[in-house]
Subunit: 235 residues, 2 copies
DNA sequence: AACCCCTGTCTGGCTGGCTGCTCATTCTTG
DNA sequence: CAAGAATGAGCAGCCAGCCAGACAGGGGTT
């Protein structure tokens, strides 16, 4: 599953909301035994449910989608990870060997580093600052996930979608001439799977928002003109 | 907000699913400067939105509800924390002073310990095993939260409720003569706020499940007769 | 150039939230 | 201890909003 390559120099788009120093953590993890720098093309699988959970990942560039697949074929998105997110943390839990239960897919072209959980544990024991940095990374991940829960408890789909768009703005937003562009190529289907709705409903609601002049969609990239005004739009 | 007391000896009900050694972490945190052992009565606030985020908490006994309050007066539950959960992690994030944005309330009678984030950072730098333990605690918190996201993306309320009950079984379940009892006094309103529904709907759905012979409710405590059968009941 | 995925739209049907009420239970206070 | 208050539980009818299913057009990818 892991295929090391020589990476092009990381050109980080620089997310202003991200306080943790992912760069430092990168260099530390890179020095661990068994670590690797991986480039994954959009749509390719990083790990599958049932794979042994033995590596920890740090997403350097791009977005990763964690999802759960049901027997019915339905697939729901559990998290859309942004740059500097730690994932595969299951492998950090003590002792007993466990298996992945999520499906991790590169949502965009992804640049990430990974290392065996055992190496990471040793590194933490060797230098406490590593643990502190990872703790901070994981803390921000907790907050990110909780925001998503907030999004999902909204009853009506309209509020849910708006809330989700604001989350995406925070995590993947880049300034545009006019507002903020979500730097992901999102299909309506992908949005539906993330907020528990259907493709048709998303199409309709996005159309409504467009007609209201709240946003623009250009080649699958959404630009929010005024996030503050959008936030006020809650019913 | 913090009122130290002498605690009665911790009688931990012992959650089998919990792998981390919360006990060790407890003794470590207790030795930090500025730490305190707090007893909080059911319904009392632990921190409010807007409070400065400067302490980290470890829940030793009981359950804590993290919620977000909206201007409309509506309140949604972001997490129901079980024993050995770390919370208040916002204060661990680097540098810049920040404020709580959640409302933390004791959902049951709570026994918890807390320490200033600065002390915790120092402790981690002093002994790397502290960082490792906290990392594991936070990892399990991430997984717990992601399960909740899975619950919330279910479209129909019936599936959502069932999924939520199973989560509660995992986190708060204690064996009963007949099945598993969720060791929380849950009002229908509280459930509604956790899964984004309304009190009336929860009443109806719980009634349905009772009539189907899946569960029993006795003085606000729910007993699931057969969690496996309940899990199969998904549409 | 051909294919396929994505988008946009419509109709019908039904789930589930809302309103307004009563009764039961628990908590509080004199 | 008892009475009142507050909260919770249960019921019914109405209606909005969402899902299902189907289909046509279009743009991107290979």
């Amino acid at each position: 599953m892991s295929f090391s390559q020589t990476a092009s120099p990381s050109r980080s788009p620089g997310n202003v909301t991200d306080a943790i120093s992912g760069g430092t953590l990168t260099t530390i993890i890179r020095c661990l035994s068994g670590s690797s720098l991986d480039l994954v093309e959009r749509g390719k699988t990083i790990f599958l449910p049932g794979d042994p959970a033995e590596r920890v990942y740090l997403l350097r560039c791009g977005a990763v989608r964690l999802s759960r697949v049901y027997e019915s074929g339905e697939e729901i998105t559990v998290a859309l990870l942004r740059e500097n997110s730690l994932f595969g943390v299951l492998s950090l839990l003590t002792g007993h060997r466990s298996d992945r239960f999520y499906h991790a897919v590169a949502f965009t072209r992804v640049e990430m580093i990974s290392a065996p959980a055992t190496s990471v544990r040793q590194a933490i024991e060797g230098d406490a600052r590593v643990g502190l940095m990872m703790l901070q990374g994981l803390s921000s991940r907790v907050l990110q996930t909780e925001t998503m829960i907030e999004t999902l408890t909204h009853r009506d789909m309209s509020s849910r979608l708006v809330s989700f768009l604001l989350v995406l703005c925070r995590d993947f937003g880049v300034p545009a001439e006019q507002g903020i562009t979500i730097d992901l190529r999102l299909s309506h289907q992908a949005i539906a799977e993330a907020i528990g709705s259907t493709r048709v409903t998303i199409t309709r609601l996005l159309g409504d928002l467009r007609n209201e002049g709240m946003l623009r969609i250009d080649r699958k990239k959404i630009t929010i003109f005024d996030p503050v005004a959008l936030a006020r739009r809650f019913s």
